[in-house]
C-alpha cells in the first residue's frame, strides 16, 4: 500500500467536511475520487498534503504516519499535487517553474550557491536538464523560455503536472485536471495520465469528467457529504444503485 487513509475526519466549525473516510491505494494504480460539489474531495486532498491537519484519523504514506507532517516534508517524502484552479508561478519562466519542482531533490545548500562551487554549478545544470525532461514528457518543452502566465490554459495545466512530476513523487494527486478542457485536451490528458502510470507512479485524481474517470481509473472512491458511499472498479461504480441515486440522480450520465 502506498497510501492508506484511516477514518479521516475534518471538521470546520460545525461542518463535517470529511467524515470517517478510509481507503487504500495500491502502488501503481490510478484511483479516482468522485462526488458532487461540496463532497469533501479537495478537503481530503488538503489533509493528505499537509495543508490542513485532520481533526481525527490517520494518513499513512508507505506505512509511515504523515498525518501531522508539514507540506514541504510530505513533498520531500514523495507526494506531489496539482490544483483545481491553476497555480503556476506566473512571473517565472516555464523552465523555472519545473526547476522549482526539483527543489526538494537537490542537496547543495546556500553556502555552495554563494561560493559558486563546481558542485553547485553542475547541480544547477543537472536540475535544468531534468526539468527539461519533465517538460518534454508533458509536451511543453517548446515553451521553456516563456513566462508561465503567457501559456494557453491547457498548457498551464500541463505545466502544473510537469512541475509536480519534477518533485519526483511516488504518488501524484491531481485535483480536477480536466476541468475547463475541451474534448481533445482531455483526451490528451488521459493519454498523459496513462503514461505517468506506465512510468510506475501512483495517481489519485479528483475529477468530474466521467469520460476521463471511467477511461483511466483502476478504482474509484465515491464521496457524498463527506462520507464514503462506495468504492470499486469503474464497472462496479457504474452499476452501484447507491451511487447513481446519491451522486448522479440519473443513469444515463454514464
Amino acid at each position: 500500500m502506498i497510501l492508506e487513509v484511516r477514518a479521516l475526519t475534518k471538521v470546520f466549525g460545525g461542518l463535517k467536511a470529511v467524515e470517517e473516510v478510509s481507503f487504500r491505494v495500491k502502488q501503481g494504480v490510478v484511483l479516482s475520487i468522485i462526488g458532487p460539489n461540496g463532497a469533501g474531495k479537495t478537503t481530503l486532498f488538503n489533509c493528505l498534503t499537509g495543508m490542513l491537519t485532520p481533526t481525527k484519523g490517520k494518513v499513512l504514506f508507505e506505512e509511515k504516519d504523515i498525518t501531522r507532517s508539514k507540506a514541504h516534508e510530505i513533498t520531500a517524502m514523495g507526494i506531489a499535487r496539482s490544483f483545481q484552479n491553476i497555480r503556476v508561478f506566473g512571473s517565472m519562466s516555464v523552465l523555472e517553474n519545473a526547476m522549482i519542482g526539483q527543489h526538494c531533490r537537490s542537496g547543495k545548500g546556500l553556502l555552495a550557491a554563494v561560493m559558486g562551487t563546481r558542485g553547485f554549478v553542475k547541480e544547477e545544470d543537472d536540475i535544468k536538464a531534468r526539468a527539461l525532461e519533465y517538460l518534454e514528457f508533458t509536451g511543453i518543452a517548446g515553451y521553456a523560455g516563456t513566462l508561465a502566465e503567457n501559456l494557453p490554459y491547457g498548457d498551464q495545466k500541463r505545466l502544473e503536472i510537469a512541475r509536480a512530476l519534477a518533485s519526483e513523487p511516488k504518488l501524484l494527486l491531481l485535483d480536477e485536471p480536466a476541468a475547463g478542457m475541451n474534448p481533445q485536451e482531455s483526451l490528451a490528458l488521459m493519454e498523459l495520465i496513462r503514461k505517468i502510470r506506465e512510468w510506475g507512479k501512483t495517481v489519485v485524481i479528483i475529477e468530474h469528467d466521467m469520460k476521463v474517470v471511467m477511461g483511466i481509473s483502476d478504482r474509484i472512491v465515491v464521496l457524498d457529504h463527506g462520507v464514503k458511499i462506495a468504492e470499486g472498479t469503474p464497472d462496479e461504480i457504474r452499476n452501484n444503485p447507491q451511487v447513481i441515486e446519491a451522486y448522479l440522480g440519473k443513469e444515463e450520465v454514464f
Binding site: H72, T75, R87, F89, A113
Partner: protein, 300 residues
Amino acid sequence: MLLQQIINGLTVGGVYALIALGYTLVYGILELINFAHGEIYMIGAYLGIIFLGIFTASGLTQYSLFLSLFLTFIMSVIVCSAYGFTVEKLAYKPLRNAPRLNPLISAIGVSIFLQNYVMLTQGATDKVFPHVLPVTTVKFLDVTMTSLQIFIIIASILLMAGLHVFIMKTKTGKAMRAVAQDKVMASLMGINIDRIISVTFIIGSGLAAVAGLMVAMYYGLVNYSIGYIAGIKAFTAAVLGGIGSIPGAMIGGFVLGLIESLGASYLSSEYKDAYAFIVLIVILLIKPTGLLGKSEGQKP
C-alpha cells in the same frame, strides 16, 4: 556643481537603496512593512564602531587597516543578520496568520524597543566613528570625490549585482521568488517557507548592516535615532521603485538620493529631509504602484 551633486546623490542613494532592499524583500514575501528595519541599520552602524574599537584595541588595525575593516564589516553583517533573524522569529512569526495590521504594529513596537535598547546600552549622545581611514580625494574635472564616496558607490552597486544574481540564478533565490508569489504552492514544491523567510530577513539585515557601517564612516557620527529617518527615507525609496520589486528598490534608492542632493543644492538645503516625503506623497497620488511595481490589487 551639477556633477558634484550627482556624485553626492549617488553616494547617499546607494545607502538608501541597500536599506530599501530590506524593506522590499520582506514586503515581497510577507507583505509586511518591517518598520524595525531602520533600527537594524542603526545597530549596524553601532556594531561598526564596536568591532572597529575591539580590533583597534587588540592591535589589528595598526597591523593591517584593510583586514581590520574587512572583519568589522563581516562581523557587523553577521551580528545584524542575527538581530534580523531573531526579530522575525520573536515578533513576526507568531503573528503570521493574524490580520495584517497586527505584525505591522508589532514591527513598530520592535522599532521603539530597539531604539531604547540602544539608547540605554550605548548612551543618548552621539558616538564618533574612529577616524582610521586615510581620506584621499580624487579630482576629476571640477568634481571632488573622496575615496570613501567611491567605495560606497562601488560597494553598493556590487552588493546589488550580487543580490540580483542570487535571486535570479540560485536555487534559494528561485525559492524566494516562488514563496513571494504563492506560499502554499511553494511549500507543496518542497520549499521550507520558514527557512526562506529567515533567509530573507538575514539578507535584508546584512545589507542594512553594510549601509549603516558605510554611513557611520561617511558622516562620522552615530546616534540611536538615526534609524528612524533613514528607515523612512529608504521606505520611500522602496515605494518609489515599487514595493516588492528588487530592481525597483535599487533604482528608487538612487533616484531619491539624487532628488535630495539636487534639491538641497538648487532649491533649499533647509528642506533636504522634506524632499523624500514630498516624493512619497507625489508617488502615492500619481502612481501608487511605483516605478516598477505591478498592480495586482489585494492578494488573496
